[in-house]
Amino acid sequence: MDSPTAALHEGTHAEHPSYQRHHFVTMAQQKESASFGMWLFLLTEIMFFGGMFTAYLIYRNWYYAAFVAGSHTLSIVLGTTNTAVLITSSFTMAMGVWCAETRRRGGLIVSILLTLALGLVFLGIKSVEYHEKWVQHHVPGLRFDAMTFVHPHAEPGQAAEPPLSLDMAEHTEVYFSLYFAMTGMHALHMIIGMGLLIFMLIKAIRGAYDNGNIAFIENFGLYWHFVDIVWIFLFPLLYLISRHQ
């Protein structure tokens, strides 16, 4: 924790760059503060999602059969594709941070555009999945019908899901509530992130990051990876319940 002091002694000889804020003694202090602040913010995000993960944990234990049945209505192909898309977008974002650090403006712009495009693909696939839920009457509150779980239809070429008792079938609504709340909150974070990506894109085109003042990009990178990691947890918890049966 002596770093501010140490940084001060270094800084007394160094020139202050123009983008150093007046209340920081050194650039190192400014950079450390920004990334420390970002990590703390991500901690609050973990707590925010943590509330829903707690609810998930409890209800999955109570209504395991309903969670299995609900999970099996999700498309594993679309879910897996989305996971791959999101991991790739994390890679392009990491490339963007690297390009910014090495002051490659062109590379940065391309990386941001790719990240943005992959984010759009993710949201596109997600909306296809949401639409499917709407058609199947699986949207809790607004348009929900549990009867498909009591009398399951066999898809062509597949065995029918085992039927649930009416009581347990109704509890699939809790599963879908959590599905929509968790993926919806995740999607909201993606949308906010994409807004920030567009903001960064405009600034990058104008050359605002060429002077090495890239704290914003680095910290946004942390945010984007965090949103990615949330999905890494959501995917198995929501899509892959008891798939081995």
Partner: protein, 553 residues
């Protein structure tokens, strides 16, 4: 009563020509400021506004309870009044009271920095607070909320037709104001300390704000998600808290109290920081057991996260978890009493003087001790079953929050008023206000302990006639308390223009904030100080003064 008020030569003191108040002028220079001191003043004005709205609602409650029947207002109006009183006082006054005002003003100065780490986020925090506050007022004007401040499900999601969604969103937004304040404090304390300012040279005020900030950062997001789920439940009926769909209403309470129990430590810890500073300054002694007091703040923050279920002992949780949470609840009493004992030992053989901040601090120590000990009654699950949901619990948390926190807030406001404004408040009048507040407070809330023991339930507009005598006592006390709160606002406003010039260090205190001009410069320090002295080192202060005298001579 001896006073150290006249120690520095007041006749030669002048308001410095350049300071943070007159550095820039015009409304916009305030509304777009990044200066932590100006944001503190903005916060101070807004929380005072909400305090008086909440206080007026409290007045209505006490007026209604003057008689056993519900005659001043209908029973459902009464429900709205006490709900709005709770929501405004908890989320819009107590949570930001000390941290966002005094803490915002002082944390950067105390650690020897020019500003908080993120000035723009600090300003954003104030705007979020104002938006949250306006939405709350909007919810109140357009019909109010009658869930109580706890938004308990399924009452809030299914049975009430009032503005739960608006109020919920208001608290959601105000919650982010609190998160950003806490985040800013933690980063500032970690990364912005002046050279030589090690953790154990920090004033205890900073330690207690650090602990409170941890709670804000980790707790508030959980409240946010709980409120989002309530709003979703109410608007589209997602079923997470709805028993007819398999949801569990108790889950909401777990999420809500996971924040709202630590929230009481968010409220009280910064107040404890104020008391440490005040007690030390007016006993002219280093706080006894500095590191014990520092670590007790952190211990309160840690234990505070593991006791939330004691709010739900009667609500069908398992007996075994009741047993464990009861034990953990008792554990919180340990760090709290470490603080009280250490303050008492600080007073022992100190050169005590009785300026207004010290009177409020004494009030805090007495009332907080009573409030804390009655908390042990409620933490013990046996007595809790008898006492919970009665006026005993109302009296308990008002002793802690009003008798403790509000006293600490007023103590701090008086103590740092000379630093914030450059002028002194009128001493005799403010001592009177402190005494009136103390007397009024005890008159108001002590009878409520007795009412609770006798079994009067909380949250009803009407009560059996045999409870009337104690209720009349309580209502009469509330009017005295009201006078106690009106006095400071009047004479503090008066002092802005007519108060005596304070000078840099009217209390001869040792903190870094007292070594700079009052009111401070926008950049706080001309040169970042290099800290060599410990906190509360009065001998160091004497040596500094001697050196100044010889230099001038």
């Amino acid at each position: 009563m001896s006073t150290i008020l006249s120690l520095p030569d007041q006749t030669t003191a002048r308001i410095p020509k350049r300071n943070y108040l007159n550095n820039e002028n015009g409304l916009l220079s305030w509304l777009l400021t990044g200066d932590h001191k100006r944001i503190a003043i903005l916060y101070l004005i807004s929380i005072t506004f909400f305090f008086f709205i909440g206080g007026a609602l409290a007045g209505l409650i006490r007026l209604e309870l003057l008689t056993p029947q519900s005659d001043l207002m209908a029973a459902d109006t009464y429900n709205k009044v006490f709900s709005m009183h709770g929501i405004i006082m908890v989320f819009l006054f107590l949570v930001p009271s000390v941290p966002a005002t005094i803490g915002n003003f002082l944390i950067p100065i105390m650690v020897g920095a020019r500003d908080l780490a993120f000035p723009k986020i600090n300003l954003l925090s104030w705007y979020l607070y104002v938006i949250g506050g306006c939405l709350t007022l909007w919810a109140m004007i357009t019909g109010g909320v009658d869930t109580g401040w706890t938004f308990t499900t399924p009452l809030s999601t299914h049975y009430l037709n009032t503005n739960v969604v608006t109020a919920g969103m208001a608290i959601f937004i105000a919650g982010f104001a609190s998160i950003f304040t806490g985040l800013n404090f933690i980063v500032t304390i970690h990364r912005m300390r002046a050279p030589g300012m090690t953790w154990f040279k920090l004033p205890l005020f900073v330690w207690s704000h650090y602990a409170a900030s941890i709670l804000m950062v980790l707790g508030t997001p959980v409240l946010a998600i709980a409120l989002v789920l309530v709003v979703l439940e109410r608007t589209i009926g997602i079923g997470v808290f709805d028993p007819t769909k398999g949801g569990d209403p108790l889950l909401f309470q777990h999420l809500f109290w996971f924040y709202s129990h630590p929230a009481v430590y968010i409220m009280i810890l910064p107040g404890m920081g104020v008391i440490s500073e005040v007690i030390s300054t007016f006993s002219r002694k280093r706080v006894f057991g500095y590191s014990a007091v520092a670590f007790s703040s952190v211990a309160i923050a840690v234990f505070g996260f593991f006791v939330w279920e004691h709010h739900m002992f009667i609500m069908g949780v398992s007996n075994y978890s009741t047993l464990i949470f009861s034990l953990l609840t008792m554990l919180v009493a340990v760090p709290s009493s470490i603080k009280i004992f250490n303050w008492a030992f600080t007073l022992y053989k100190g050169s005590i003087t009785f300026e207004t901040p010290m009177l409020y601090a004494f009030g805090f120590m007495g009332l907080f001790t009573i409030g804390g000990l009655t908390g042990v009654f409620l933490g013990a699950s046996g007595t809790d079953i008898h006492l919970t949901e009665t006026y005993f619990i109302v009296a308990h948390f008002h002793f802690v929050m009003v008798g403790g926190m509000l006293m600490a807030f007023l103590s701090g406001i008086h103590f740092w008023w000379p630093k914030m404004t450059g002028r002194m408040y009128p001493e005799k009048l403010s001592q009177l206000a402190a005494v009136v507040t103390f007397i009024g407070f005890n008159f108001t809330f002590f009878p409520q302990f007795l009412l609770g023991m006798l079994g009067m339930p909380r949250r009803y507009a009407a009560y059996p006639p045999e409870f009337q005598v104690l209720n009349v006592f309580s209502s009469a006390g509330a009017s005295i308390l009201g006078v106690g709160y009106l006095l400071p606002i009047l004479y503090l406003l008066w002092s802005l223009k007519y108060g005596k010039i304070a000078g840099n260090n009217p209390w001869q205190a040792t903190g870094l904030e007292w070594q700079i001009q009052s009111p401070p410069l926008t950049e706080n320090f001309v040169e970042i100080p290099i800290v060599t002295q410990d906190a509360y080192d009065y001998e160091w202060l004497e040596r500094q003064k001697e050196r100044e005298v010889t230099q001038v001579g």
